[in-house]
Amino acid sequence: MKTQPTVNPETKEKRGLSFKLDMQAYTLIIALVLIAVIFGFFTGGEFLSSRNISNLFSQMSVIAVLAIGMTLVIVAGHIDLSIGSLVGLTGGVAAILHVWYEWNTFTVVIAAIVVGALFGVWQGWWVAYRAVPAFIVTLGGMLIFRGILIGLSKGQTIAPLNDSFKAISNSYFPFTLGYILALASIGMLIFWTVWNRSKRKSLELLLPAPVIDYGKVGVYSFFILLATYMLNRYQGIPTPILLVVFLAAIFIFISNKTSFGRYVYAIGGNPEAAALSGINIKRNTLWVFISMGALSGVAGVILTSRLNAATVNAGNMYELDAIAACVIGGTSLMGGKGKVVGALIGALIMASIDNGMSMMNIETFWQYIVKGLILIIAVWIDIASKK
């Protein structure tokens, strides 16, 4: 029997619609290409050199990790202003344990993530179970965490780290390994698409034209190979960007394929309807903040490793960059809407502007002004496109 999920026969003709829905993604990609072309032109191609792209990716990794977590927080209808301080604090704790107490690198990384997650529990508890607005709780956290950091480190810069810790942010996956990883991910992509199509077919669901599905795979594969090739021309794939890709993959999976992810979108979209659908709002909110805390821990480790030191000012204002990355990437501050991929592209756009303008020797104050304007314009485009 015909059991299409069509609710109406027009559906078939409207297949093209799924392309239109991704308007926002296209806008972002166009913006990125535009930035690349402009900076490429003004820096005589230097901006697009392998060396600089490698650099750019390393620079964006801390904000990218934070933006991944921030997407969930904002989608859930909250905000986290404390993560800059938490990055500083977890990075500081890691450095103290590593330098002063001589813990090995692996234990130190775990410790930083656990500390971040525990502070996530603290903030999530206030927000979810005590109903204090996240803005206030995390504004408090911003001060508290920075205070703890200054207290623990006694205001000193903690350095130097040993090689294995430094390697987290300053090492590269060499040539062959890079290509193997790239090919493996392309293989998974193809497998996933084929599997998904056969699944839909067996349930007699409508299938997108093969050209669209496999075309997508082709485009993604091309970009994966291009990026690998470009990075390999320099020193290989930087470890922190691999971490970002890995974490992003996990969180994209969480937000699309787990009930927790779905519930977060529902809670942000309409908490009352979510509650009456049997969703435990408090517990899910708590977990959102825990994941944000843990990711702050990862970001703290990456930052400390990159700087080869922990300072009392580390991570200052990073929350704003992370929020900006999410918003530029299409996450709505009203909650219920946003994508991890968008936040990554947002982070890349922000990092490109920093990087490109520095290369053009434009004074720092301009970077603030331009980034601020881009944030406002990005949101305006989003609002205007809805009308």
Binding site: V7, E10, R200, A266, G269
Partner: protein
């Protein structure tokens, strides 16, 4: 030549791809109550938005003539100044402000450099007396019932020297007693010469209130008649363009003697400590449709919200489902025990408007869409597709956001969502509020079918014909207590109203 307060001639309004109004003619005589009827999507709201300047002059074709003068409103402000006041279904009051502040929000009294509060309160009191509403002008609007808020909206329109008052579904959220107050108010206003355009799905009100009726269908004027020349059946036939044999597709069916839901000595205290339900006991049988009638504030919604675990506050008493004692503390518990609750306010409590149809449909049954803790998207789309197909949901595709659907289709999504859980007891709170006649009929048919399958059904409704037309048995509540119970055969509007207003009768 008749004396027209308003004439709209040959109005055509197009949206990309749709002709919402097609050469519509609409004439309203001075000082009459003129009902505008039509199914959802017939073009009533669009026509009123053209009239009130929401769609500015130039964005439509045709002429609007008010008091024999051609008008061309470019904004709502301009139409207001010309004496056109519109009151939407969704009220536009500031809940955190007082009655008086709301009444004069855009009035000159508020525009003064220094606001004379005493004068405002005095003036507000005068208007409240005039329309017969007994509230303190300093009360916050948010503390009033929807019915009273509605009346305050009307009063607000009157303070702005409104000559043509448009009411869009004013009684959708009102109880019978509030409706009576509203109807009386409208009669009084007519006596004072105010012209009123009344948009409503409730044809009994239209029959009782209107002097003339204009019917729209698919963006076209079907007819304008004096009320004397019409009957409810005739209006419905004209609205839907076909004859509806019956409004309520009730069919007698054997009802099991087994209780599926049994509530004993149930009391509820709300979060501010007020007793809202006092020592209530009732039972629903397998396959039975039990109607719950009563005035707004009788505690029906609180009772079922609390049974479903969705009300803040405490409750005592016992609840048995399928003969087993339950301990429901949250909606999740309730769902597990086999309850489903379709709320009276679907936009607020029923749907995530920014999510698509598929995700809304599976939200309460996501655990059934999982394999190894992972959502199986293909299965999810398949399930949502099948159930919404059965519900005859009309939507461009399953990825459409539910916020873009009509009320009837939204309600079908809510029903689909709950049916995925195969509930033992389905509680429907005002299941057809704000839904057009055609979709109503479809929803009634779904309800019947579920009852046939042995689901215990509770219909909470403020519309007496609905309760009478659909229920096997009717329970009436007043002030948190059950005040009456009738079998289908013995129930009448009069008996129910007597119980609902507090008189014991059973």
């Amino acid at each position: 030549m008749e004396n027209y307060a308003l004439q709209m001639r040959a109005i055509t309004k197009e949206f990309p791809g749709v002709r919402a109004l097609d050469n519509v003619t609409f004439s309203v005589r001075k000082g009459e109550i003129h009902a505008l009827c039509g199914e959802n999507g017939a073009g009533k709201s669009t026509l009123m938005k053209v009239l009130s300047g929401v769609y500015p002059h130039g964005s439509y074709d045709g002429d609007i003539i008010i008091s024999n003068k051609n008008v061309a409103f470019k904004s709502i402000k301009e139409s207001q100044n010309a004496g056109v006041g519109i009151i939407y279904q969704e009220l536009a009051l500031v809940e955190e402000m007082s009655v008086a502040e709301n009444l004069f929000l855009s009035h000159d009294l508020m525009r003064a450099k220094i606001i004379d509060w005493n004068k405002i309160y005095a003036e507000a009191q005068k208007w409240l007396d005039h329309i017969g509403l007994d509230v303190d002008p300093q009360t916050k609007v948010g503390q009033l019932t929807v019915g009273k808020q509605q009346i305050i909206e009307i009063a607000k329109a009157l303070t702005q020297k409104t000559e043509i008052l448009i009411l869009d579904e004013p009684t959708a959220a009102l109880t019978e007693s509030d409706v009576d107050i509203l109807m009386k108010l409208l009669h009084d206003l007519r006596a004072e010469g105010v012209t009123c355009i009344y948009i409503s799905h409730k044809l009994n009100e239209v029959m009782a209130l209107a002097d003339s009726v204009t019917i729209l269908r698919d963006g076209q004027t079907i007819s304008t008649d004096k009320i004397a020349d019409l009957t409810e059946e005739l209006i419905i036939t004209k609205m839907v363009g076909r004859e509806l044999t019956e409004l309520f597709p009730y069919e007698a069916r054997p009802i099991s003697s087994e209780n599926i839901l049994e509530v004993k000595n149930y009391s509820v205290t709300d979060h501010v400590g007020k007793k809202v339900i006092v020592d209530t006991s009732f039972a629903v049988k397998k396959g039975e449709i039990l109607g719950f009638s009563g005035l707004m504030g009788a505690g029906r919604t609180e009772l079922f919200m609390s049974l479903f675990g969705g009300l803040k506050g405490n409750h005592t008493g016992s609840v048995l489902i399928d003969g087993k004692e339950t301990n429901i503390k949250s909606p999740a518990d309730a769902i597990r025990e086999g309850l489903a609750y379709v709320s009276e306010d679907r936009k607020r409590y029923g749907l995530v408007l920014g999510m698509d149809i598929t995700k809304n449909t599976t939200l309460a049954a996501l655990n059934k869409m999982m394999k190894l803790k992972v959502i199986d998207n293909a299965l999810e789309v398949k399930t949502a597709g099948d159930i919404t197909y059965k519900m005859n949901l009309k939507a461009p595709n399953l990825e459409a956001l539910v916020g873009q659907l009509s009320g009837g289709n939204q309600q079908k999504v809510v029903l689909s969502k709950w049916l995925l859980n195969d509930p033992k007891v389905l509680i429907l709170d005002e299941p057809t509020r704000g839904i057009d006649v055609g979709a109503k009929y479809e929803i009634y048919k779904i309800i019947n079918e579920l009852a046939n399958q042995g689901v215990g059904i509770v219909i909470v409704s403020s519309e007496l014909p609905e309760v009478l037309g659909m229920s096997d048995r009717i329970i009436v509540m007043a002030e948190g207590k059950i005040t009456g119970e009738f079998q289908r055969a013995e129930a009448t509007q009069e008996k129910i109203m007597t119980c609902a207003t507090g008189g014991k009768n059973s």
